[in-house]
Amino acid sequence: MLFGKGLWKGMRITFKKMMKPNITEYYPEVMPTLPKSVRSSMGLDPAKCIACGMCATACPNKVINLTSEKDETTKKKVLKSYQMNVGRCIFCGLCTEACPTKALTVTQEFENSVFSRDDLLWDMIERSKRNGKGENA
């Protein structure tokens, strides 16, 4: 019963696999290229933001905290501070869909680990100044 074609077929499959080159991605020497719509992180463009607060309302977990002030000359709201408590974020992307001017978008940065809990309070305006518009990986 125990010694038949099934066993021999299995061994042939494994042997053939040993002869082929392997398919591992050699991270971190080789960085992966992620598609454009991947929801690994959020980025804010403060110039486009009109401080409407739709993103904070759409978020399931109350991650976003924003304050604004009224600009006296144009009578429109201007963004003062924008904080995301990323420790509570589930990266669902509902905030980016709710934004009417597409100021809040997803970016492709995926190396987001930090060493202490306080670093998880992201100040989005600071982050947008890091590399131009805070868009690319």
Binding site: L2, G6, L7, G10, I13, L94
Partner: protein
Amino acid sequence: MGEASTEELIVNLGPQHPSMHGVFRMVVHLDGEIVTKVEPKMGYLHRGIEKLAESRTYQQFIPYTDRLDYLASPCNNLAYVQTVEKLMELEIPERAEYLRVIFAELARIASHMVFISSAALDIAGWTTWGYPFRDRERILDLFEMSTGSRMTTNSMRIGGVQNDVPPEFWPALQSFLEDLPDMLEEYYGIYLGNEIAMGRMKHIGILSPETIKDLSLTGPVIRASGFDYDVRKAEPYGIYDRFDFKVPVLNGCDTYDRNMIRLYEIEESGKIIRQAMENIPDGPVMAKVPKLIKVPAGEVYHRVENPKGELGFYIVSDGTQKPVRIRIRTGTFTNLQSLNKVLIGNTVQDLIVIFASFDAVLGEVDK
């Protein structure tokens, strides 16, 4: 001299165990190596999802449904979104319906692939673990390309799908479908066609049709015992009545058939995706719904065929933006109630194998 007395050994197959299926605990009473009684203890992954639903709006609850059966998240999204649409009596564009079917069937294939590799790991087929996971990577790349995330896809919305798929989706899907028969041949050659695996899995863990009727089990588990019941054929939802596919049914009632039936189901899902790809029309992917959705008052129950069983949502609403109560009926929770009937009389080695064939995902069990 009297006879030597033997004691019953009580072993705790605890939440931390190398046999991977999540955090599930069983207290097993053993007589030598034979199992006499099993006490399952669930609840180690309880996160209070049903209670959280009472303080979230309908749109905000969709990411939470991802995390129920996290290996097939578009299927869970589909169940919830269709329930809300049934209460609102909403019409959805054609293209959105076809895209929903494609995502749900891809998720079914991905979930069955994880099942094959984890079931093989339980009988020490370490190489077999790698092959379905490598093939599942292609499905996850498809999800990442279109919805933005690999596992918790959050892909469906009330009224349609999140966004349209990019143009590079279709060639990738086509090449995946062409490679699918070779993948299934490989899994059969290295794992299910193996005499050692067959000897391990045949004629153990018999699930009789009476147990199925008494405890109302669902899913591929009952189709391996001769029951021809699939929600996609019995009560078609969405546009499933337009597709031409068979429901595989096997009659063995044992563990080997529960493994084989999932291979056949992968093949049938491939057929459905191919038909959907050929017939998909152009058009919008989202119906006209307001930004903040208000659902009319009432109660509704809707169920779909998940890869693991039947998933049902029961929603009670009072006309505001947040539901009053959402009750989730998951397939695995009900299937695991039959453990006592199926496991008695087998040895410890068989216990692990039989439990693996039930395909338990603890996110579904504990919600």
